[in-house]
């Protein structure tokens, strides 16, 4: 196999100088992508939580206002 690859004059097979950074890149790349994704999931969940709380608070305020309105009419 190695002999076959050596037939490609532009290629330099099993060159540790190239393979080593490529191996480092595997863990660095996977770690970075999962950190970004984790951060996005956290931010999305937090935002969704805040939006839900705000919506609920708004509903409660509206309900309270609706409840107050008939009393003031009377």
């Amino acid at each position: 196999m190695l002999h076959l690859l050596l037939a490609f004059e532009n290629l330099n097979p099993m060159n540790w100088e190239v393979i080593k950074p490529a191996l480092n890149f595997l863990w660095q790349g996977l770690l970075a992508i999962f950190v970004v994704i984790g951060l996005i999931i956290l931010a999305v969940k937090l935002t969704a939580f805040c939006i839900n709380k705000a919506t609920e608070a708004k509903k409660r305020r509206e309900e309270a206002q609706n409840a107050e309105t008939p009393e003031s009419d009377s």
């Binding site: 890149f25 996977l30 996005i40 999931i41």
Partner: protein
């Protein structure tokens, strides 16, 4: 009468050009007859013929194709980036926002990229070319163009052709790999989909959140992720409907058309017809296969820790071939059990793959070539 024979004489000097006409013809055939990415393969095929005609002025220093390449790709990667605005406008992130943990599948389905980089390095490609070959596994043409161009790969032409050809082959490649990695019982796992109404504010904030998170950890991905998310913001803001429609249709079509014919600049016979092109084709397939394996295995791993089981086939939808990968999963699930519809979950995983592949593209540029 010599002036009439100049072209024929030039062909005699470089008969490789004829091989490129055949390749161009094949791309046109695949686009028209097999409906494989016609918007891109057709202009690429015609471009391959155009740039390989002897004495063709289009590839001269001020020729139209050379100029388009310089301005649209070499100078700032404008064309692939602008295409991302259109893609962002097309994507509905609703299914992903309904179930954000699907995001993990999009990340895992990028595994093939990293493994292919290592394999290409072992075979003997320089690091910049290995990275560009690995990114074929992103299953995302614009990302592959951007990375290959940014890291100054010598194989931009072959990488483009392989990336777009394999994207069209997703329905053939993925089912076989998924079946190899899963049991019948796993493929029959049913998942409920609760079509929650996602608040408009959430939809508007999502592209901004993704842009900030990616920018903080992977700043080099900002051009790709930023354009994708900008497109999505145009879609979700609700006040730019006509712009959004234009970006999804006319704008994307024009950019794709120009991109296809511009890429042909890299398909000149001497650059394209190398034995390395064959290795790139094999490695590209390898990247697609291992992306799918990564996604499926991650879904299985998640099932070990989760009460609500995920159908592992969803992992295959984590690659960014949008919406093809999601459709493949839906077809497979219906085939196994006609009542098991996974489409919406698969779309969620698929759009997460779109974001993840753009982030990975930036990471590759940033980690391997920090100075670029």
């Amino acid at each position: 009468m010599d002036f009439l024979l100049k072209g024929f004489q030039a062909i005699g000097d470089n008969p490789k050009m004829i091989a490129m006409w055949i390749i161009g013809g094949l791309l046109i055939y695949l686009a028209i007859k097999k409906d494989m990415e016609p918007a891109l393969l057709l202009p690429m095929g015609f471009g391959a013929i155009l740039v390989n005609l002897p004495l063709s002025p289009v590839v001269d220093e001020h020729g139209i194709i050379a100029s388009l390449f310089q301005v649209g790709i070499a100078a700032s990667e404008a064309m692939p980036l602008l295409l991302f605005i259109g893609i962002g406008c097309m994507i509905d992130f609703g299914p992903l926002l309904t179930n954000p943990k699907l995001f993990i599948l999009g990340g895992a389905a990028q595994l093939g990229i990293f493994i292919t980089i290592i394999l290409a390095a072992m075979i003997g490609f320089p690091l910049n070319d290995a990275a560009s070959i690995g990114i074929i596994g992103a299953a995302d043409g614009p990302t592959a163009i951007l990375v290959a161009q940014k890291v100054m790969s010598n194989y931009l032409g072959p990488i483009m052709v392989v990336a777009y050809s394999y994207m069209a082959l997703v329905p053939i490649v993925q089912p076989a790999v998924v079946k190899l990695c899963t049991t019948k019982k796993e493929r029959l796992i049913k998942m409920k989909y609760s079509a929650k109404q996602i608040p408009k504010l959430m939809r508007i904030l999502f592209p901004i959140i993704v842009t900030i998170c990616s920018g903080l950890i992977a700043p080099d991905s900002l051009s790709l992720v930023g354009m994708l998310m900008f497109g999505n913001l145009i879609r979700e803001c609700g006040v730019l409907k006509s712009l959004s429609e234009t970006a999804q249709t006319t704008f994307s079509n024009i950019i794709t058309l120009l991109l296809g014919i511009t890429i042909a600049f890299q398909m000149q016979a001497d650059q394209f017809l190398q034995l390395e092109t064959l290795i790139i084709m094999v490695l590209g397939l390898f990247a697609f296969v291992f992306d799918t394996v990564g996604g499926v295995m991650c879904a299985k791993l998640m099932n070990l820790f989760s009460k609500e089981k995920i159908n592992p086939m969803l992992g295959a939808a984590g690659i960014s071939a949008f919406p093809m990968a999601a459709r493949v999963v839906e077809k497979m699930s219906i085939k196994e059990d006609p009542s098991n519809h996974l489409l919406m979950h698969a779309v969620g995983a698929n759009v997460s793959g779109q974001i993840a592949s753009a982030i990975v593209g930036g990471l590759i540029i940033g980690i391997l070539f920090p100075g670029l």
